[in-house]
Every structure is written in C-alpha cells, then in structure tokens.
Symmetry: C2
Subunit: 259 residues, 2 copies
C-alpha cells in the first residue's frame, strides 16, 4: 500500500506548507490535511501546493460534530473544501454527547439525521463521506459512533456516497472487526494506521508509532485488502512524544514502519 | 435495588475487616470482596465476619486471567474461595494479550478454552461464573472480552452455570447494550455501577461516583431489571480521588447516589 501522511502527525512541528514540502521530499505520495491547517495556509494556496507536488489527498479531516450547534454550516464548508482539494473523502468525526446530556441514544439519532441532511450536498459535490468510528473511550467527547457495525448500519440506511474510515487505533479491539471489514467491502474509503501502546497514558495524545504497540497491522491490512480496498494507508499519530521529535525524522520512521 | 459495596471502592482506606464493619454500620447489605483482601484477612475469618453481619456476597473478584501461566490453579482456588464465601458468582476478568503478543484472536481462543476447562469445577462447587466484559481500552492489558455480545456468545457455547457481570463503566457506550442485556436475560449475574467522567484522566483509576459523569444509570438499570435481574447493584469505583477521601464519607455518598 502507498503511504499517506495525516497532517496531525507533525502538526506541532510544521505548518501545512512545510508538511507538503516534507511529503514531497520524503517521497510520501498521499496527504490528509486538517481543516484548521488548510485554513491557516489558505484553501487555494493549499490546493495549488498539493497539486503542484502531485500529492493524492486521501481525506480531509474533518466534518461531523453533528451534536454541535453550527453543524450544518460547518459541514457545508467542509464539503466545499474537500471538493476544492479533490479529497478522496471527507472524514466524519460525528460528535459525542451535547454538554450536560446523558442521552447517548438521542445523540446517535441526531448524528444519523445530520449525516442524512448533508449527504445530498456531498453527492452533488462528488465528495464521498467517510464515517470514522472512534474508540469507545471517546464516546462522550468526540464520537458516539464507536464500531464499524454501527457505522455500516448507518451507511446501509443512507445508500450511495457514504462509507467508512477504518482507523486501527479505534477498532483494533473489536471482536467483529474482520467480519465488519468484509461487510464493508468497497465502502472502506480510508485506512488509518498507528499503534496502541501498552500502557497507554492518555486517552487522546498517546498513540504509538507502528510497531511500538500491540496492533497486528499486517493482519488488519490483509482484511482491508481482501475487502477490495486499493487505496493508501494513512499514518495518523496523535502523540506528545512524536510531536516533540524532529519532523523529518518522524516522516522517515513512518516510511520505514509502514513498509 | 439493594446496594452492595465492591471492596475496591475503599481499598486504600480500609482492610476487609474494616469494610465489613463499615457496610454493617451504614446499612449496606451486600459486599463483593477482592481476593487479595480476603487472603490478607484469612478466608475463614472473612467468611465468618461476613456471615455474622448477615451480608450477601454479590460476587468474588476475581477469577480469570486465562492468558497467564498459572491460570488453572488460580481459578481452582478462586472457585473454592467463592464457595466458602457463598458468593453469588465468581467474576471473571479474562485477561488480555500475553506479554509480547499481538495475537488477539489467539488470546480470545485461550480464554474460551480456559473458561470451558474450569466450568465443570465451578458447577460442582455451585459457583456461577460471571464473565465481565471490560472496556475496549483494557483489551490489551486486562481483558480481551470487550462486549456483552462477545461474552454471551461464549455463554451460549458453554451452557449452564455461566453468565455475565454488567459493569456500566465498561459497557455504557455500546450501541447494542439494550439488545444484549435483553438477550442475556437471567444470565445477568451481577450489576456494577459507577460513572464515566468527562474528561477521564486515567484509563484505570479515574472512575466517577454515580451522578458525576455521563452514564444514564436509571436507563441502564431499567434494562437490567426488564431482563429479570433482581439482585443488588454493586458500587465499584477505582479512583485516586475517592481513595483519598474519608471512607465513611465515601460509603455515605455511595448510598445517596445509588438511591
């Protein structure tokens, strides 16, 4: 699989312009930028630089957060940006519980309705939506879609133009992982890699570099490929440890470990 | 529901003898001791004190860890102790990945085989086994059974004498929670309560007191009751914060919040 760099991986060392240069310099052919970085660089500048360097945009991070108040406008803008960047998908981190709420079922209904509401615009823009189930430890704060099965049930209900992003960090533990990847088939729109460290010291920013943890990446990759996915594998590491390292060194290690 | 105290809740303040006295003093009619505390007090002393105070032993924590080397002897002893204490069940924390392993499927097979191996002895001793699915964030280190569905699939395969422990902390996020509790029916052998804090600062020891987090405890309790569970609700809070408080105060607050 070809390698893509999710820009969060070196977001504390480099801005987006530096990251685009870095990808080109290291022979990394894919990139998946975060919208705050795109915004800081300027959308058309970012699109031009990515095109000039012939990088494939494997995803735009992120749309979603359907339990926030401004979800509709924000997702509309995200779809436009994904279109402008020619992103292969818009990744949806769907949002958790609204502040003060314990109504998880209600939040999940709002998410389904929100995705249904933006899907026609995404289809019109030619931007596939990729629901990314997040680890159950993020259910309250970031995403109340927490398994591939749950995400695929939503996809089944909504039809074309929507699929899933498989991030090993979020789903590696799932007893139904192989079965649900098989079920997903061509609806796997993105494949994200990193590793689960033992011990894990922080719920958000202690992800591991591939090979430093306990995830059987080769096995999961084989399942994703068997499902028909022929895209990039995208490195996405949120880690105070790796954010403190030299970014060129980080990219070099990503390439070695993803091989 | 009547209240039971899992002894881990005040394990840093009191030894088991103190906890038994505390339960009696506060009118808490159930107790669920950990084996290290039982061992420190002496098994027959613990059994006598519990009986003298007329406490129901809602569970013994814990058997399991089938991926460790001494699993067979350790589980045999756990069953004997549960029998001696007249525990309503032996809680199984099944164990995670063996050191250095990434073979999660293999670990899960070992767990199934281990449970099958000890079940005849548990039946003979009249000790129901309760598989406790642990939160997916514990899959590597403590338990590779991570959903009620997975636990119930094991129960289905093994027949009588085995069920599940439903701990809200581990399962509250599960999109299939209501359906799987319904499926479990009378196989719900224990019901553990606490709360999920936002933010959660530690993967093990940052559980919340009921009411301080985002779990809809009334809703989940209603599902457990609808499934036919008529036992105790057992407070189990691993928390540096609550371990630093006066234990009598902790028990008083547990009673108020569980009401």
């Amino acid at each position: 699989m070809e390698l893509s760099l999710n820009t969060a991986t070196v977001r504390k060392q480099w801005n987006l312009a530096h990251i685009i240069d870095g990808c080109a310099r290291h022979g990394i052919r894919g990139i998946s930028p975060w919208r705050d970085q795109v915004s800081a660089m300027g959308l058309s500048n970012a699109a031009s630089a990515i095109k000039a360097n012939n990088l494939t945009v494997t995803g735009l991070c992120r749309g979603g957060f359907f339990t926030a108040n401004d979800w509709r406008d924000d997702n509309r803008r995200a779809i436009e940006e994904a279109h402008e960047l020619r992103a292969q998908c818009l990744v949806l981190v769907v949002g958790g519980l609204p502040p003060g709420s314990k109504d998880l079922g209600g939040a999940r209904n709002r998410v389904k309705e929100g995705i249904a509401a933006i899907l026609p615009e995404a289809r019109k823009a030619g931007v596939p939506l990729a629901i990314e189930p997040l680890h159950p430890m993020q259910a309250a704060e970031r995403a109340c879609v927490n398994t591939l099965e749950q995400a695929l049930d939503i996809c089944d209900a909504l039809g074309d133009g929507i699929g899933i992003a498989v991030d090993v960090y979020h789903v590696w533990w799932d007893p139904k992982l192989e079965a649900q990847i098989r079920r997903a088939g061509k609806r796997v729109l993105a494949y994200h890699i990193c590793d689960w460290l033992v011990p894990t010291r922080d719920l958000l920013n202690d992800r591991g570099m591939m090979g430093d943890g306990v995830i059987d990446l080769r096995l999961i990759r084989s399942w994703v490929q068997a499902a028909g996915y022929a895209g990039f594998q995208e490195v996405e590491i949120f880690s105070e440890r790796w954010w403190s390292r030299d970014a060129d060194e980080v990219l070099q290690i990503c390439k070695e470990r993803a091989a």
